[in-house]
């Protein structure tokens, strides 16, 4: 059924991270969830949800468990304070409740700072959250994040969190040479987030740089405040974190270097290190020595997989259905390092229109095969499933949603590489760097490995 009204909506340009219409099981949650997950990634900052009774619990299931079957840690999940707004607050306002929650939380919970994340209800009823927060100035360190669920997806929540930090917390600091901040990795939503920040940090340290990755550092609030010290900001995503690094450039004159995603395997990692090194005046010798060494070792190890690949599943077709970051680095690794053939790629994170051409270009331009994949931006899990039918691919790299039926319905071996990931627990693992490429190989070869 297509009415005139339908048409109008289809033509509407995406100006946010939600798309416009109803959608089956989109592979992300809301802005509140993203801001919440981001806060939980920063150890020492306690999230306070100024929201409905179940917003936090819903995100325990729908953002945290879904993000690699992870619990929320000491201040996440059911430990997370909330104003728990109900009807009487809708009528009389939730400001008083928020004031009392801030007081009690600061009294009861260990926190270097508290992030007040406001959801749909305060926004709809017009709570003056800013005024409440102003009353605590000098008493409780607070970050005010206005993240109603209807304003965007989890990815938007990540941007909103850092925009609030930049506006409310950060002060200019003298620049430290060789220090870079890392952006573009969204906690829980990018299911390998913990391993990714750790691997990126170690890679940069290996060529003599220092990285402030913010997440999983035990002095997280200090790390936030140190953001203006960096010589450069690195953004490891084709769109996540771009608003943040542009804002930091405006406010603190920190230039940024953008990469399409976190690097996976030797080729991408070499490129990453050489590019960063060159910008930050690391001597070519240091970089090349490290790169040579790591690359040599990585390929020496990849050689161990040679028989399994060549004898069992050589030059196979594959499909990727995941967020922009994963789609880019996994496709490039498989096509350019394993000799696999990209059949169909579906991008599930609904990137804003302005970034879409660059994402497609990033996938297609660097492919070392004449095979050109069909590429779709598809956030509807039903439509994504329909598009996978009757295609030649033998491997499906996607979320756990597709895992139960990948073989029976599509004849494909399945590896969970994206959100939601209920069937894959990720504590510190990632595909990042030289070792990460090996990990990815282990994962997909293990789906068919057996006696030769």
């Amino acid at each position: 059924m297509s009415t005139k009204e339908d048409k109008k909506i289809e033509e509407e340009v995406f100006d946010n991270t939600l798309g416009t219409e109803f959608v089956e099981a989109p592979k992300y949650s809301c802005a509140l969830a993203g801001a919440y997950a981001t806060t939980l990634g920063i150890y020492g900052v306690v999230p306070l949800l100024h929201a409905g009774l179940g917003c936090g619990l819903g995100q325990l299931f729908g953002q945290l468990y879904a993000g690699g079957q992870n619990a929320g840690g000491p201040v996440g999940g059911t430990s997370t304070p909330t104003t728990g707004l109900v009807e009487e607050h809708v009528i009389f306002g939730g400001e008083d409740k928020l004031r009392r929650l801030i007081e009690s939380s600061a009294e009861l919970m260990e926190g270097d700072a508290f992030a007040v994340i406001s959801g749909c209800i305060p926004s709809l009823i017009g709570d003056d959250v800013e005024a409440v927060i102003r009353d605590f100035e000098g008493k409780v360190p607070l970050i005010n994040i206005n993240a109603p669920g209807f304003s965007g997806s989890s990815y938007e929540g990540y941007e909103l969190f850092f925009e609030a930090v930049i506006d409310q917390i950060l002060e200019p600091l003298p620049k430290e040479k060789g220090l870079v901040n890392v952006f573009g990795i969204v906690p829980y939503q990018h299911i390998f987030w913990k391993g990714e920040v750790d691997a990126v940090k170690k890679l940069l340290e290996s060529i003599g740089l220092k990285a402030n990755v913010i997440f999983t550092e035990f002095n997280g609030f200090e790390k936030l405040k140190e953001i203006p010290k960096a010589e450069y900001n690195l953004v490891l995503s084709s769109w996540n974190g771009h608003r943040i690094v542009k804002k930091l450039e405006e406010k603190f004159d920190t230039p940024f270097i953008a990469f399409p995603s976190v690097p996976v395997g030797p080729k991408q990692t070499n490129y990453f290190l050489r590019t960063v090194g060159e910008k930050l005046d690391v001597s070519t010798e240091i970089i090349e020595e490290f790169v040579d060494n790591e690359e040599r070792k990585a390929y020496r190890f990849i050689e161990y997989a040679g028989d399994a690949i060549i004898l069992v599943r050589p030059h196979s077709y594959f499909a990727v259905v995941a967020d922009s970051n994963a789609v880019i680095n996994i496709t490039q690794f498989l096509a350019n390092e394993v000799g696999y053939l990209p059949d169909i790629i579906q991008i599930t994170d609904n990137p804003p229109e302005e970034y879409r051409d660059a994402i497609i270009k990033e996938i297609t331009d660097k492919l070392e095969t004449p095979v050109k994949p069909d590429i779709f931006f598809e956030n509807d899990s039903h439509l994504a499933r329909e598009k996978l039918r009757d295609r030649p691919f033998q491997f499906l790299f996607s979320s756990s949603l597709e895992s139960p039926t990948a073989m029976s319905e599509l004849g494909a071996l399945h590896v969970t590489v994206g959100f939601p990931s209920y069937n894959r627990v990720i504590l510190g693992d990632s595909y990042t760097g030289y070792a990460g490429g090996l990990r990815l190989m282990e994962d997909f070869i293990s789906t068919f490995a057996g006696p030769l």
Binding site: G54, F61, G62, V86, G152
Partner: protein, 510 residues
């Protein structure tokens, strides 16, 4: 004035939804004291919902069970009318029941479907009923379902969406029966209102006027905290006397809902969960029901079966069944009791359970049967639907402290630390209270767990759960390491002061 549940209360299916548990059953979100005092206070009308100055996230009418339950109804489609985050907890839908082997009765092929209307800024300004209608049409086209459930959210409620109007307008255009469920998170402090809201929709739109009575059909409302093995055990027992079970709502077909009015009886697993549908089926279609006891433990399984026998004219067969089953299972339970006795010497082993209101009634007698002492019971909320049953329970097993607290994690951590029971039975909703030196296990597994090890219902479940609890006494390393090596959620003063309800605000809320 007595505050007992009004026996003449009528469910009004002309209304769009049920009353809140606060109104229908004088429910409360907080209490700490002896069960006998709780009963007295409930009778005297002293139970009121209260606000807390420190509160933690613990679930709402929509996002406690409904998001993860309704989306498992087969041949239906679910539309969440809200922003995208309200339904992200349904993302496990395709995987939930897949882990059950087909040999254990899972159908090979089935589809579950849900969509969100994905409300955003312009929708909250201009309204979104046109979008909701388009979603209904699309659901019909895509999935060809037998029913389309519409679940409302805080946002759809606060912006004043006319759900009933939209349904009336669009129903003639779709084949599926539309079932609106009014479950805005803001409507109630008690998540159990969500159960009632769901059953209201089922009663109003799905249950058909019985064409025939099925004298051998037993309705059992099975919720997510009862496993696949619990179902198999119940089925095994009832099949033995020639009865069939109609398990709703999870993983049921729409037809199973339609038939609810034809059954001989509605039997409980969780009394408080089953309450509204049981009363509604009796009121509308004369299906008798009972709410106590649930089939947990050998004693209560006997009683549960006897009650079913009464309503199905199978009393003799049930007695024979009980005798036969006892021969198999009673010695096993006795052996477990002996093991517990040996472990603690002269004293009793103390357990502390994080329970729902229903499990308060089902687990405490079971722990008693095992010879375990319940130090106290933590329950989510409390209402007068179970007043008499609680009274009977106290008569049977003695008085016990009850903390009603909607799973407030800090309060639970406090009680766990200060009571220091031998075993604490936790669930994910209990926060960090599992970090301790003594034993920890879970209160229950979940619906899709096919392992006989996880069963709790019927005779097999009584023995399995007993062995499970015994096994838990052999393990402390995980919780001990985490207690010693990771941060606690709260400052030390919290545990040093005596009152778990320290942050309770004294004035009563609405």
């Amino acid at each position: 004035m007595s505050e007992e549940y009004d026996p003449d209360y009528k469910i009004d299916l002309d209304k769009a939804t049920c009353p809140n548990r606060e109104q229908r059953a004088k429910g409360t979100n907080v209490y700490y004291g002896k069960a006998t005092e709780l009963i007295k206070d409930a009778r005297a009308g002293n139970l009121k919902c209260k606000d807390r100055n420190f509160q933690q996230t613990s679930g709402c009418v929509l996002n406690f069970y409904l998001t993860v339950r309704v989306a498992t109804i087969r041949d239906a489609a679910i539309i969440f009318h809200g922003p995208v985050g309200c339904s992200s907890s349904s993302l496990g839908y395709r995987e939930l029941f897949r882990g059950i082997p087909t040999e254990l009765g899972r159908p090979e092929k089935y589809e579950l479907n849900w969509i969100t209307t994905n409300l955003q800024q312009k929708d909250v300004v201009y309204g979104a009923s046109a979008k909701l209608k388009r979603a209904v049409l699309e659901a019909q086209k895509r999935y060809d379902p037998k029913a389309i459930f519409i679940l409302t959210t805080c946002t759809s409620g606060v912006i004043g969406e006319d759900i009933e109007g939209a349904v009336a307008e669009i129903q003639p255009e779709v084949k599926a029966t539309i079932v609106p469920i009014h479950c805005e998170g803001v409507r109630s402090r008690l998540v159990q209102t969500g159960y009632d809201a769901f059953w209201h929709g089922v009663l109003k739109y799905l249950v058909k006027k019985p064409e025939k009575k099925q004298k051998d059909l037993v309705n059992v409302a099975s919720m997510l905290s009862y496993t696949w093995q619990d179902r198999l055990e119940i089925k095994r027992l009832l099949n033995k006397v020639g009865l069939r079970v109609n398990f709703v709502p999870e993983f049921a077909t729409v037809e199973q809902f339609e038939q609810l009015g034809e059954a001989a009886v509605t039997a409980p697993l969780c009394p408080t969960y089953t309450d509204y549908i049981s009363r509604g089926l009796e009121q509308e279609y004369g299906v008798p029901f009972f709410l106590y006891p649930p089939p947990t433990g050998i004693r209560n399984t006997d009683e549960w079966l006897r009650k079913i026998g009464k309503y199905t004219d199978k009393e003799d067969e049930i007695e024979a069944l009980i005798e036969e089953e006892h021969k198999v299972w009673s010695p096993k339970l006795e052996a477990i009791k002996d093991e517990f006795k040996k472990l603690k010497g002269d004293g009793e082993i103390e357990v502390l359970g994080a329970l729902g209101q229903g499990r308060l009634l089902s687990q405490l007698p079971y722990f008693d049967e095992l010879g375990l002492k319940s130090a106290a019971a933590l329950t989510q909320d409390f209402d007068n639907l179970i007043l008499e049953d609680l009274e009977r329970l106290v008569d049977d097993i003695g008085d016990v402290d009850v903390l009603v607290n909607t799973f407030q994690a800090a309060e639970q951590a406090h009680v766990t630390r200060t009571r220091d029971p031998d075993i604490t039975l936790t669930c994910p909703f209990q926060g960090g209270a599992y970090k301790r030196e003594k034993n920890v296990t879970r209160i229950h597994s979940l619906r899709a767990d096919p392992d006989p090890w996880s069963a709790q219902s019927g005779y097999a479940g009584a023995v399995a759960f007993g062995n499970f609890l015994l096994q838990s006494l052999d393990s402390t390393s995980f919780q001990k390491n985490l207690k010693r090596k990771t941060a606690d959620s709260y400052k030390e003063w919290w545990y040093e002061q005596p009152n778990p309800l320290h942050y309770l605000k004294e004035e009563t809320s609405k």
